[in-house]
């Protein structure tokens, strides 16, 4: 067996070629072992070394014998689908979860944290996706919370401001440390959270989806900060769904799938397509066929075929009066920035909020929707973008969550027989590939993608005529995304109307027969999806004028595969929340 001994430097691997992770034990690696295995000894410099980590939740094996390591001065990315175990691994490292098996070594010493505070004291800082700061305190207080500089036993406010001002200056942020945290945008709050994390003399900095609410400029800003931290020798764990960003900033990747380790790779040596394959564990089924079918559905234009027709429907402070007809079997996409009224309009149709003007006609009958319950009895299902707060009922089982809406529609006095509940649950678990496939598992123990599928099952169970999906694919991985897109497609073919909202314009264009564009709480365009391009949509979203640029017409919708891969060929990730200057 030829062994190339490659000189190992901290950030780069020399020209020797492929480095594969030396496996401590034999494990079946289902991606074929790459030919040359470089049997370099583990560099002694690994700052974090996790070996054989296993964690079990009730009904779920979240991590199964996973190895993971990080080197100082390196940006490492943890890749995997939802439910692959990324968050669990991070929480094991930061002491949020206890581990059931395995060892964690930090800078050579075996450690066992019993809580995040201990991990932080040992030099592992974490910035979570959702900002965990206190909006009612000042920026300085947030940065220094829990380790305020003291003088004569009381807090030294001046030192506190000085220190936080220094930290903010280090991040090139022009923020008054005395201002309230809640007065800043989410993106700025995220950067403040990083400032806080840096102050804790961190050896390891974990950034969990730090860019999900940042625009392009802010991402660039963040990357500048990451690079400077890297030079200071901090090991950075960067978790993101955006492949572009991962490839831009990361030196090394660890791929997880279904709670198991797939492998560790150098970013520059792993093609994107290979990465995606490793993440989803199968040949990526292309969505090209969807592309063709999307255009072929014939929609009857006459009013009679409309499932719903909103005429000047509006609600003060939320959405200006808007027209929105949706035909039977039609997929209508809503495009617009956050706050453009896209969610607000959908909520009116779903009966979540009451319209205070206009008329709504459902199946040709004028109807007023006052409660979600009325919408449901009219077979309109609204799946909220806020999965955690408005979707799942965490402490109930998968079964209860799936039958909830159907049961509510039948009324409490007519319970669905247990046998029927089990049949329903089983059929949806199979049809939507819900993992784990245990009807008695509590939904809160499922991953985000699987929770989303449970919600879809809940709404499909009421056999809706109109399914409103608000950001159904946000924060979930490529595999689940493709499954959900396909599902939407098949549902529409079977005569269900769908109102589809997504920040990813590619997705909207791929699925919709018609696209309605909103800006500043107004509907600004209602377009047949016939040769529509992302660029045209972006132009509409940005300033409301259609730029019919025929030359570009083909480019936007070409290559569904690229789109699925996060628009790998395009330099900007095509989510509208990332449009330069698009955010307000």
């Amino acid at each position: 067996m030829p062994r190339t001994r490659t000189p190992y430097s901290q950030n780069r691997v020399g020209p020797g070629g492929r480095i594969r992770r030396r496996m401590p034990r034999d494990r079946p690696a289902d991606d074929s072992m790459e030919s040359t295995v470089t049997n370099h000894t583990d560099p002694p410099t690994a700052v974090v070394e996790m070996r054989g980590i296993s964690i079990t939740f009730p009904g779920v094996k979240a991590l199964d014998d996973v190895d993971f390591r990080m080197f100082p001065g390196e940006v490492h990315s943890l890749m995997g689908e939802n439910g692959a175990g990324k968050s669990t691994l991070i929480k094991a490292l930061t002491g949020v979860y206890g581990i059931d098996a395995g060892t964690i070594t930090l800078a050579g010493d075996q450690v066992s944290f019993s809580g995040p505070a201990q991990a932080q004291a040992a030099g592992i800082s974490t910035v979570y996706q959702e900002v965990h700061l206190l909006p009612n305190l000042s920026v300085a207080e947030n940065i220094m919370l829990g380790r305020e500089p003291r003088r004569f036993g009381s807090i030294d406010w001046r030192a506190m401001r000085r220190r936080s001002a220094q930290l903010l200056a280090g991040l090139n942020l022009d923020i008054d440390p005395g201002s309230l945290l809640g007065d800043h945008s989410l993106a700025v709050q995220q950067l403040i959270a990083i400032a806080r994390a840096i102050d804790v003399q961190a050896k390891v900095l974990i950034l969990d989806e730090p860019t999900s609410s940042l625009d392009t400029d802010e991402v660039a800003e963040l990357f500048r900060v990451i690079r400077s931290l890297k030079e200071q020798g901090v090991a950075i764990l960067f978790v993101s769904h955006f492949l572009d960003q991962v490839y831009e900033i990361c030196d090394r990747l660890t791929v997880l799938r279904n709670g198991k380790l797939v492998g560790e790779y150098l970013t520059e040596e792993l093609l994107r397509i290979d990465l995606v394959q490793k993440m989803i564990g199968k040949e990526l089924t292309t969505l090209d066929d969807l592309e063709q079918r999307a255009r072929s559905v014939v929609v009857d234009e006459s009013d009679a075929s409309n499932f719903v027709n909103a005429a000047r429907l509006g609600r003060r402070g939320a959405i200006n009066p808007a027209d929105l007809p949706i035909a039977v079997g039609e997929v209508v996409g809503l495009a617009g920035l956050l706050g453009s009224g896209r969610t607000e309009l959908a909520r009116l149709l779903g009966g979540i909020d009451r319209a205070d003007s206009g008329e709504l006609t459902i199946r040709g009958k004028a109807t007023k929707l006052r409660t979600p319950r009325q919408a449901i009895s009219n077979r309109i299902a609204f799946s909220s973008e806020n999965r955690r707060d408005e979707g799942i009922v965490g402490d109930l089982t998968v079964r209860d969550n799936i039958v909830l809406a159907l049961q509510a529609d039948r009324g409490w006095f007519r319970p669905i027989p247990k046998k029927r509940q089990d049949e329903l649950t089983q059929s949806y678990i199979q049809a939507l590939h819900i993992r784990p496939g245990n009807p008695d598992a509590l939904v809160r123990n499922l991953s985000g993608g699987n929770q989303q599928k449970v919600l879809l099952a809940r709404w499909l169970a009421i056999a809706p005529g109109l399914l409103i999906l608000d950001e159904p694919t946000r924060g979930i991985d490529i595999g689940a995304k493709a499954e959900i897109q396909k599902l939407v497609f098949n549902l529409a073919e079977n005569g269900m109307s769908v109102l589809f909202i997504s920040a990813e314009l590619e997705e909207v264009l791929r699925l919709s027969h018609r696209v309605v564009v909103l800006r500043d709480r107004h509907v600004v365009a209602d377009l047949e999806n016939d040769g529509l391009t992302v660029d045209a949509l972006l132009a509409l979203i940005a300033d409301g004028s259609v730029e019919a640029d025929d030359a570009d017409a083909a480019s936007g919708t070409s290559g569904a595969r690229d789109a699925v891969l996060g628009a790998s060929e395009t330099s900007d990730p095509l989510t509208i929340d990332n449009v330069p200057g698009g955010r307000r």
């Binding site: 779903g350 979540i352 409660t371 979600p372 319950r373 449901i376 009895s377 609204f382 909220s384 707060d389 408005e390 979707g391 799942i392 009922v393 965490g394 402490d395 109930l396 209860d400 909830l404 809406a405 049961q407 509510a408 529609d409 039948r410 009324g411 409490w412 006095f413 007519r414 319970p415 669905i416 809940r458």
Partner: protein
């Protein structure tokens, strides 16, 4: 075998049941005739029967309280509702020309229950429609309720001499105390209605995530009104039993602090005050633990002045045993034991 044991220990009713058994054991040591149940004059007699009979009012209230707590709420007004229902019933009986007739008592009981329903709707209205926090909303009736009862009794302790009414509190049917039978019926109805229909799931769902439940079409508002009304209804039944037992309505002392015992029974039974999953069987065990505790104080001969402290000690023990931290520690302990046992086998 050990897997079965682990499952039994992990069950949320394990520690409450253990506690109940320990209390029984203490009683048995102090009073060897503790488990003896005899038939005297065609009635069941014995310490166990006493526990059931005296615990019935607390249990009945705790059943209503369980459902309220499952919706993330709490009902502090149950003690006051007890007093009001007793006062209403007694004043009607006293005011009638035939206090001893069955129809008078039936009217008195029906009116008392009806008024309780109104009070329950009031609580539910404040919580579900006005949006007042449950603890505040029911605090209003908790304090005002005793005043209302006082107005009804005109500040007197109303003593009634009505055999049918007294029968409610201290009568027997087929040898079983009426109070126990009533509690059994309330328990069975609550269990059947919530678990055989979808009501239980809706209650839990609203308790866990109100907004998600609303969007899924659950009528949370109506549900809350129903639950608070049921709680007040239970309180009124308990109030009638308590009043009938002494044949006197005392606006100040009927059902005093019973809300705390009821809440305690629910918590001992493993239903979280944060709402969500509930267990009526747990509440039953909890109510029995509390009543057995009171009995134990007498059988063991603890001086009455130390009763409260003793009670507190037991409650602390149950809460500690049920806490997640203790569960974790016990789990670790069992695993170490298992490892040691495994080594022992390997060595031999």
């Amino acid at each position: 075998m050990s897997a079965l044991f682990a499952r039994v220990v992990a069950h949320r009713l394990f520690w409450p049941v253990v506690m109940l058994l320990v209390l029984f054991l203490i009683n048995l040591i102090a009073f060897p005739g503790f488990f003896t149940v005899t038939i005297r004059d065609g009635h069941l007699f014995g310490s166990l029967i006493d526990i059931l009979r005296n615990g019935a009012p607390t249990l009945i209230i705790a059943i209503g309280m369980t459902l309220v707590i499952a919706t993330r709420g709490i009902d502090l007004s149950v003690g006051a509702v007890c007093a009001i229902s007793g006062a209403v019933a007694c004043s009607i009986i006293l005011g009638s020309s035939e206090p001893g007739s069955l129809s008078t008592v039936a009217v008195a009981v029906a009116v008392a229950l009806l008024i309780a329903l109104v009070l329950g709707v009031w609580n539910g209205f404040l919580v579900a429609v006005v949006g007042v926090q449950p603890i505040i909303a029911t605090l209003i009736l908790m304090t005002a309720g005793r005043g209302i009862a006082m107005l009804i009794t005109e500040g007197q302790i109303l003593t009634v001499n009505s055999p049918p009414f007294k029968f409610l509190g201290s009568g027997f049917w087929l040898g079983v105390p009426i109070a126990v039978l009533i509690a059994a019926v309330v328990f069975a109805v609550a269990a059947l209605v919530t678990r055989r229909t979808a009501l239980g799931m809706f209650i839990e769902s609203v308790g866990i995530n109100p907004e998600a439940s609303r969007q899924a079409g659950v009528r949370a508002r109506g549900l809350l009104v129903v639950v608070y009304t049921f709680s007040a209804f239970c309180a009124a039944i308990a109030g009638l039993i308590l009043t009938a037992n002494t044949a006197a309505a005392d606006a100040n002392n009927t059902g005093l602090f019973i809300e705390l015992d009821a809440i305690l029974a629910v918590v001992i039974g493993g239903t979280s005050l944060a709402g969500g999953r509930y267990s009526l069987v747990g509440t039953l065990v909890g109510a029995l633990v509390i009543q057995t505790l009171v009995t134990t104080v007498y059988t063991v001969g603890i001086p009455p002045i130390a009763t409260m402290v003793f009670k507190a000690a037991v409650v602390t023990a149950v809460c500690l045993l049920q806490s997640p931290t203790t569960a974790e520690a016990l789990r670790g302990f069992r695993e170490r034991l298992a490892v040691r046992a495994g080594k022992g086998i390997a060595a031999s």
